[in-house]
């Protein structure tokens, strides 16, 4: 059986998105800035895509800016706000310990350039405390940026409440919603969001395309200078096929949101319950305030990379936050941020599902994971030691 369960890394493009894109390569190949009819066709395609996305997020068309993806949107929102607010003497930014590197590294860059950064604790369940946020906001706070849903452990933040606090205190609020858009209901007005980052490839759209929602009235300075595209705010000839594909994918995701959520929660909960039967296993992060398709667990005494490579051999594609998969010496900062010790964080497994996954696949995973864990534990000196310490050997 083949089970692609790494949809948080990226998704397969949907037929709907691909079919919407094809004409943009063949017939609608013009430059949207050209005044002739070929260009105008492309212009209309981009305009319609923008309207579609704005409609789904409940904002105005001219509050959507196309970018090259989630990373660019995060960079733009954060660096732009920093520059804007520094002029008013505000050089303090609040975020969380477990943001994506697109946010954390941007903050680190700003810190080197004279900004002060406060990273909120996310506690054992991977969710911030609103009181911590209230206490952290200062006179000179320029921005609060908190991710909508975490890419590794899938926990979902109380975004509306965070936004409400920011509104009340007069602080701008950005959210990295790359993992949430297309998977959770989002209404930027109701949710009190000033800026939001999204990325096409996380919801069956194409890669290398994203958008930033930026509420009208916030005059973000440009990140990419050049031509007059995106109402003079983001230069570069539009990636018309990708823009159209992203809009089509989002429309499909939004239309099927409640149905997909129901299905995914069923798969997710079945896999979690099934894998929790493995001794010395645990779920990372809150079990309910969690993305519908996210399973994140740790298995003591095994190392994540070995686990995921053995899973690949039986047709299951997953990911891990172990040091050896992160390419660094430490396990992922996300797992450490929820208080896991290094040796447990090394044994992490993330399965992220999409609506194409099935309950049969869930059962297949539940059947395949335990023997692999057993095999790895049987050859693990760490497991041997743990068993001895616990008097099981």
């Amino acid at each position: 059986m083949k089970v692609y369960a790494d949809n948080a890394a990226t998704t397969k493009i949907s037929d709907t998105a691909l079919n919407a894109m094809m004409p943009c390569f063949k017939d609608v190949y013009g430059n949207p800035s050209s005044l002739h009819s070929v260009g105008q066709n492309a212009f209309h395609a981009v305009r319609d895509a923008r309207a579609q996305i704005a409609d789904i997020l409940n904002c105005k068309s001219d509050e959507i800016y196309f970018t090259s993806g989630g990373s660019e949107s995060d960079n733009w929102a954060i660096k732009g706000t920093a520059e804007l607010m520094a002029k008013k003497g505000k050089k303090h930014i609040i975020s969380t310990k477990f943001e994506h590197h697109a946010v954390l590294h941007t903050l680190k860059y700003l810190e080197k350039n004279g900004f002060e950064i406060t990273l909120l604790d996310v506690y054992e369940n991977g969710i911030i405390h609103i009181d911590d946020l209230k206490k952290a906001i200062r006179e000179d706070t320029a921005l609060v940026t908190v991710m909508f849903a975490n890419n590794e452990i899938g926990t979902v933040q109380p975004i509306r409440e965070i936004g409400a606090v920011c509104r009340e205190r007069g602080v701008l609020f950005h959210t990295d919603a790359v993992q949430a858009v297309g998977h959770l209901p989002i209404d930027v007005q109701n949710d009190n969001i000033d800026m939001l980052s999204m990325s096409g490839h996380k919801f069956h759209g194409p890669k290398g395309i994203g958008a930033l929602y930026c509420k009208n009235g916030i005059r973000l300075p440009n990140l990419i200078e050049g031509g007059a595209q995106e109402r003079n705010r983001r230069a570069g000839t539009e990636n018309v096929p990708a823009i159209v594909g992203m809009a089509a994918a989002l429309k499909e995701a939004a239309d099927n949101l409640s149905e997909n959520t129901k299905k995914l929660c069923e798969i997710r909960d079945r896999v979690i319950d099934g894998l929790l039967k493995i001794p010395s296993s645990r779920v990372n992060g809150d079990r309910t305030a969690r993305l519908p398709g996210n399973v994140s667990m740790c298995f003591e005494g095994v190392e994540g990379e070995s686990l995921l490579l053995y899973l690949d051999m039986v047709g299951i594609q997953a990911s891990s936050g172990s040091a050896c998969t992160s390419g660094s010496l430490d396990p992922s900062h996300v797992l450490l941020s929820i208080g896991l010790p290094h040796e447990i964080a090394h044994g992490s497994l993330r399965l992220s599902f999409c609506e194409e996954n099935t309950l049969e696949q869930a059962d297949y995973i539940i059947e395949q994971v335990p023997p692999i864990i057993k095999r790895l534990r049987d050859m693990s000196p760490l497991w041997e030691r743990l068993q001895k310490e616990r008097g099981n050997a």
Partner: protein
């Protein structure tokens, strides 16, 4: 990042996995915090490694290097086993991705630790310098 076929072969079907209950020398190196621990068991007869087994907690390159290293020292005299370097193990595996080199250093250390354990248990004198390595699996020791 990509592993060579050799690495995958040794990772999927590692050689010499297990323990030797009446081992003459046992060496354990690495630590859980870093994500890899290697434990090497040696059976030694008349200065020759007659059997070797390992247990490893770690990534694919840690497991593959354990497997390859045990292959390379099995049946060899101790003097030769002590000369085995990480570099030789990595070469025998047709290389490792650069970010993975640090996962391979344990094999050489585990062998040395096991031989030293054998010397200690049998009151055999040895030159300390021969066993010069950082006990606490220093990730910085890259070749």
């Amino acid at each position: 990042m990509e592993y060579s076929e050799k690495v995958m072969e040794h990772f999927v079907h590692p050689h010499n996995v297990g323990k030797i209950e009446d081992a003459d020398g046992i060496g354990e190196v690495g630590n859980a915090k870093c994500g890899d621990i290697m434990k090497m068991y040696l059976k030694i007869d008349d200065g020759i490694i007659t059997d070797v087994k390992f247990n490893t907690y770690g990534c694919a390159s840690a497991i593959a290097t354990s497997s390859m290293a045990t292959d390379l020292i099995k049946g060899k005299p101790l003097s030769e086993a002590l000369k085995l370097t990480n570099k030789a193990v990595v070469e025998a595996l047709d290389g490792l991705p650069a970010v993975k080199i640090h996962c391979s250093v344990l094999a050489e250390q585990a062998i040395k630790a096991a031989v030293r354990d054998y010397y200690d248990k049998n009151g055999i004198e040895y030159d300390e310098a021969q066993f010069h390595f950082n006990e606490t699996h220093e990730h910085g020791v890259e070749e």
